[in-house]
């Protein structure tokens, strides 16, 4: 990837084959991978080596992955990506709420892992540096609070704008319902998931080409929402095929 500087990654997983695959596959992409077999070993290695990022498997033999995450988060600031199995939405939400940066389900493809890693590393380093965000036909100027879609200005309510800002701030990363509710409505509103769904609906209505087939604000069933980065603004023009009742 960029420059000669190698990124150090720590993989905590009890499966030898998975660690080896990650090490081999990531090496050509500029990652230097450290391996830990157990949670205990992972915490020790993280303390000694202070890696740039951690990939943590939730199903570890010696201790619960969520506990490892809690212990790491006491001092570790870098991005942590969770490896999880299917049908384990509860742990995923739990891990995300406990400070994991993102999650990836097993089995996964290299492309998926690289995208998540790149995103996690970049957002962690850069944060929200650029005041103008653009994705697809959407341009949001966070400095002037101006939102335009295909050049046309879009009027948003205060809450809608705050929600959009929150999503843009964490674009590419999955946000749990709790995280969005806390950030936009405040920590006392975590019970009001309906509000969130209603406002997501409004945003989609105003920003998506086809609100029934959202491309920008993606639902992750049972977990939360993810703001997609639509790379080339003009390259794709999705055909509206839906007939609305």
């Amino acid at each position: 990837m960029n420059q000669s500087k190698k990124q150090h990654l720590l993989v905590i997983d009890d499966e030898n084959q998975i660690r080896r695959f990650i090490r081999l596959a990531l090496a050509p992409h500029g990652y230097d991978v450290l391996e830990a077999r157990t949670g205990e070993e992972g915490i020790q290695l993280a303390i000694q080596q202070s890696p740039d990022g951690i990939i943590l498997d939730l199903g570890l033999p010696d201790m619960d992955g969520i506990r490892v995450l809690h212990q790491l988060r006491e001092w570790y600031q870098g991005p942590i990506i969770i490896l999880s199995v299917r049908d384990d939405e509860e742990s995923i939400v739990n891990a995300l709420d406990s400070g994991a940066h993102d999650y990836i389900r097993k089995p996964f493809m290299l492309g998926e892992l690289l995208a998540r890693l790149r995103l996690a590393m970049r957002s962690h380093q850069v944060g929200l540096a650029t005041p103008v965000y653009s994705s697809g036909g959407l341009v949001v100027d966070l400095a002037t609070r101006k939102v335009t879609l295909e050049g046309k200005e879009i009027r948003l309510t205060v809450t809608e704008y705050e929600l959009l800002k929150c999503l843009i701030k964490h674009r590419g990363k999955v946000l749990t319902h709790n995280q969005i509710l806390t950030e936009v409505w405040g920590p006392k509103s975590v019970e009001h998931i309906q509000y969130l769904r209603v406002y997501i609906g409004h945003l989609r209505q105003k920003l998506e080409t086809d609100a029934n087939k959202p491309k920008l604000i993606i639902t992750e069933p049972g977990v939360g929402y993810r703001m997609q980065n639509l790379e080339a603004p003009t390259a794709e023009t999705p055909e509206p095929v839906s007939s609305e009742a």
Binding site: R86, D87, E89, E90, P107, M109, I193, Q194, R197, V198, I200, G201, H202, Q205, A211, N212, K213, P214, I218, T219, E220, P221, G222, V241, S242, S243, E244, A245
Partner: protein, 507 residues
């Protein structure tokens, strides 16, 4: 020990004490009446009156009684009522006597025959009813209930029925007393009965027995031996008449045949279930091993080829082999996931985490995933305005709907439309998924495990729709499959929703 009832227990007695008791006052009154009216009508008419009385008695008494009555009356008539002044006309008196006895005898015979005919007719009627009802019996319990009711009607006794079974072949028989019986055999009776059964060299030889408490065990003997025992509350009724015994034996045979038929049906049902289970197991094994092995072959072959030096130099070949491995792994993954899902449903470990969800949101995810998987079918979405939220586990619904839509994609020609529409009414949301393919040949069977629409379609365990059904039903929904009148298959999923939930404004 119970006592065997002899096949014909009633010895024909010449005269019964009962008849004697009645016949003496009758004789006296007829004689007195004759004496009283003699002065008015003359002794010849009295003789005729006596003869008529004898003839009428034929209706009530046995022949020997009639004969005795006639003899007595003739003697009285001859020595007492015949006027002393007239010469004793012995031949006339003898003729009168013969006529009286003959008519009495004939009347008696006629009456007996009519009685027997009536009894037989009644028995035939009852047997017919029994046979007809037994033929309609659906289960062993039915047979027991019908048998008990009919037998108690037939003999005017309380009865009970036991089924005979051998828990282990060749061992002591075991009796199950049916609950529909009217009497409970005593412990002692049961012991006696089992002992008698054990003593009989084969249960087929079991005869009609009378217990010490005066009840009767009626053997129910079918083609293959004793199948059950009927207990009749009082032995007296059988001891009295041979006809009754025959009737009991015939109805016992009917019941035995019915029980045997029921036994046979039960065992054939068991065999059928076992065969189906074995077939299912075999299908499972064949299907799973095929579905697991095929991708494994591709993975093993392709990866070993990648390690081959000559192959690895051709960059295009490397790419296509890698793609092959990826395809095979994805196929393997779907098989494993399907099997895991199915076992989650079957083991009852499925615990839906229900929450309020936007059905449009869920369908968007489904459609997007299919687009990512590269299905070229055009999916059209249609939503009713102001849809309420649904109260479901989003992950399970997502997967169930994905399976149904994926199925529609696989079984229809490329680039045809798939229409998904959602409407709500009452407390439910209805999602219908319609395709424009060939439709379902057996709509009732599509949710069966390992059912495959057409074998030429590649891959798949035939579990997708079973899983969809399991997931939908686990959260209180329903799923139906059918064919659209204008062609193509249509699946309708009904999911619960909460009217209090905030309706989302659409457009």
């Amino acid at each position: 020990m119970p006592v065997l009832i002899p096949p014909s227990s009633q010895k024909r007695r010449l005269i019964t004490w009962h008849e004697l008791k009645i016949s003496i006052p009758i004789l006296t009154s007829v004689f007195l009446l004759g004496t009283l009216i003699e002065p008015f009508i003359g002794h010849v008419a009295v003789g005729i009156f006596f003869m008529i009385a004898i003839a009428v008695s034929g209706l009530f008494f046995a022949r020997i009684t009639i004969f005795s009555l006639a003899s007595l009356l003739i003697l009285i008539y001859y020595y007492w009522l015949f006027p002393p002044d007239e010469p004793k006309d012995l031949p006339t008196v003898i003729a009168l006597f013969i006529a009286a006895v003959s008519i009495g005898g004939l009347v008696n015979q006629l009456k007996n025959q009519a009685n027997a005919l009536h009894l037989r007719e009644q028995a035939t009627q009852l047997l017919y009813t029994l046979a007809r009802e037994l033929a309609q019996a659906q289960s062993r319990d039915d047979v027991a209930r019908i048998s008990c009711d009919s037998m108690s009607d037939l003999f005017d006794q309380r009865v009970a029925l036991a089924f005979l079974s051998f828990k282990e072949p060749g061992r002591q028989p075991h009796l199950d007393w049916d609950a529909s019986g009217h009497i409970q055999p005593s412990e002692e009776e049961c012991q006696d009965l089992l002992k008698t059964l054990g003593d009989a060299t084969s249960p087929r030889e079991f005869k009609m027995y009378k217990t010490r408490s005066g009840r009767v065990y009626l053997p129910l003997i079918g083609r293959d031996g004793l199948v059950g025992i009927l207990l009749i509350g009082n032995a007296a009724i059988l001891e009295k008449s041979e006809d009754r015994q025959r009737l009991a034996a015939t109805s016992a045979h009917q019941i035995a045949v019915a029980i045997e038929r029921e036994n046979f049906q039960t065992s054939s049902r068991a065999v059928e279930i076992m065969e189906r289970t074995q077939l299912l197991y075999k299908t499972l094994l064949n299907s799973v091993s095929h579905e697991l092995k095929t991708p494994l072959v591709a993975i093993t072959g392709s990866s070993s080829a990648l390690m081959d030096e000559a192959t690895s130099r051709d960059q295009n070949l490397v790419q296509s082999l890698a793609a092959e491995i990826l395809t095979a792994s994805q196929r393997l993954r779907s098989v494993v996931e399907n099997l895991l899902d199915m076992s989650r449903i079957d083991s009852g470990m499925l615990k839906p985490r229900r929450e309020f969800c936007d059905v449009r949101d869920l369908l968007a995810v489904v459609v997007q995933r299919l687009e990512w998987e590269g299905h070229p079918e055009v999916i059209q979405l249609e939503f009713q305005k102001d849809l309420p939220e649904i109260w479901v586990d989003p992950v399970l619904v997502d997967q169930a709907l994905s399976n149904i839509v994926h199925n529609a994609c696989v079984y229809t020609p490329k680039n045809t439309n798939i229409e998904i529409s959602v409407r709500a009414s009452g407390d439910c949301a209805y999602i219908s998924i319609r395709d424009h393919g060939p439709g379902l040949s057996e709509p009732a069977k599509v949710f069966e495990k390992f059912y495959r629409g057409s074998p030429q379609n590649p891959g798949g365990l035939g579990l997708g729709l079973s899983i969809a059904q399991g997931f939908i039903e686990a959260q209180g929904g329903t799923i139906e499959a059918g064919n659209h009148p204008e062609g193509g298959a249509i699946f309708t999923v009904t999911l619960p929703c909460h009217q209090q939930a905030l309706p989302l404004t659409n457009g």
